[in-house]
């Protein structure tokens, strides 16, 4: 947020700043719950997973902001926002219906299910945005790097939650990936804001994995 304030237009990347602010508040909240109730307490577990779901929803808003930046010249921002909100509500209802039909009906199961689905839908939306960036030949380095790092963040979290859902006992495998992704995302955004100004550009053809 500080980088955005000093190095770029704050309002332009408002949703990214909103996510970062929420991320800091959630970290403070987690620390308070952790010191009062301990790491293994049910209070901390519930707070951790619910705050994670809220942060993911904030990331949806960040993604909406990026869609608005990329599609600002086409004037379809409002339609995209409505579509993404409907998708978010649909994902939540779908996750609830999956857990409602299962035998355990545990709240933690619901949280893992919804987190996996939210991250996966976020990944799909980021992938679509990335395809749109290539199609529209978007060349702003800062936007490209923010979108790609967000895609990596969603991928790592979706993969680790899916692994967790399938193999709950493999904690030593899936336990560390979300932490690494959580560190990577702000660092990549700081790099994008510090290293490049808003008008720095590169040739989009250089980015596709398959040369064009």
């Amino acid at each position: 947020m500080v980088c955005s304030l000093f190095r770029g237009p704050l309002r332009r990347y408002f949703t990214l700043n909103l996510y970062m602010t929420m991320s800091v508040l959630v970290s403070v909240g987690r620390y308070v719950v952790f010191t009062r109730h301990g790491l293994t307490s049910s209070e901390y577990v519930f707070f951790y997973y619910y705050s994670d779901a809220i942060l993911t929803i904030c990331l949806y808003f960040a993604l909406m902001g990026l869609y608005a930046i990329v599609f600002e010249e086409l004037g379809v921002g409002m339609r995209l926002r409505v579509f993404m909100m409907l998708l978010l509500i649909g994902t939540t209802l779908f996750s609830y219906s999956v857990v409602h039909q299962s035998e355990s009906r545990m709240l933690t199961h619901y949280i893992v299910e919804i987190s996996q689905n939210l991250y996966f839908v976020g990944l799909i939306l980021t992938y679509v945005l990335w395809a749109a960036l290539l199609k529209l030949r978007e060349s702003r380095v800062r936007v490209i790097q923010i979108v790609l790092s967000l895609g990596m963040y969603f991928s790592i979290n979706a993969a680790s939650y899916a692994l967790r859902n399938a193999y709950p006992n493999l904690r030593f495998v899936w336990g560390y990936f979300p932490l690494a992704a959580g560190l990577f995302l702000p660092m990549a955004w700081i790099y994008a804001f510090m290293k490049f100004d808003d008008e720095a550009r590169l040739a989009p053809a250089r980015l596709a994995a398959v040369p064009r």
């Binding site: 991928s155 250089r206 980015l207 994995a209």
Partner: protein
């Protein structure tokens, strides 16, 4: 079943995002020309070779660190190793992929050379500031 599908798709997407992210880092430094001093030291003029990467990285480690370069260099180091593994394992079966990985590895080496150039220039500036103070 659903979790397995999500896992497979996520890992495939992660690889694609990672490759594109590294290519965006490389592309941002590809247009920058190396200073004559660095060209003389590492023996790279306009284009580098994949085999130069390890040597240039050793020079980079000798140079005092710049915080803003650190993450980019780490990411490109991981990308270089990934390319090496892909080139060795799959490159035997698909020769065109091997050529592509070689071209990417040479660009990684050029990225490292540009990072070295920046570090040397930064340290020279710092030294000049200290001398004038």
């Amino acid at each position: 079943m659903m979790a397995a599908l999500i896992f497979v798709f996520s890992v495939a997407a992660l690889m694609q995002f990672f490759v594109s992210y590294c290519r965006s880092l490389i592309a941002a430094s590809a247009r920058r020309a190396l200073s004559s001093d660095v060209q003389d030291v590492i023996g790279i003029r306009r284009s580098a070779n994949g085999d130069d990467f390890a040597r240039v990285m050793q020079y980079l480690y000798l140079c005092p660190d710049r915080r803003e370069d650190r993450n980019g260099i780490k990411a490109i180091g991981a990308y270089f190793r990934l390319l090496g593994a892909i080139g060795t394992v799959i490159g035997k079966l698909i020769p065109s992929l091997r050529a592509w990985t070689e071209s990417e590895r040479s660009q990684c080496a050029y990225f490292a050379a540009v990072a070295l150039d920046r570090r040397i220039a930064h340290n020279r500036d710092m030294f000049a500031e200290q001398m004038s103070a």
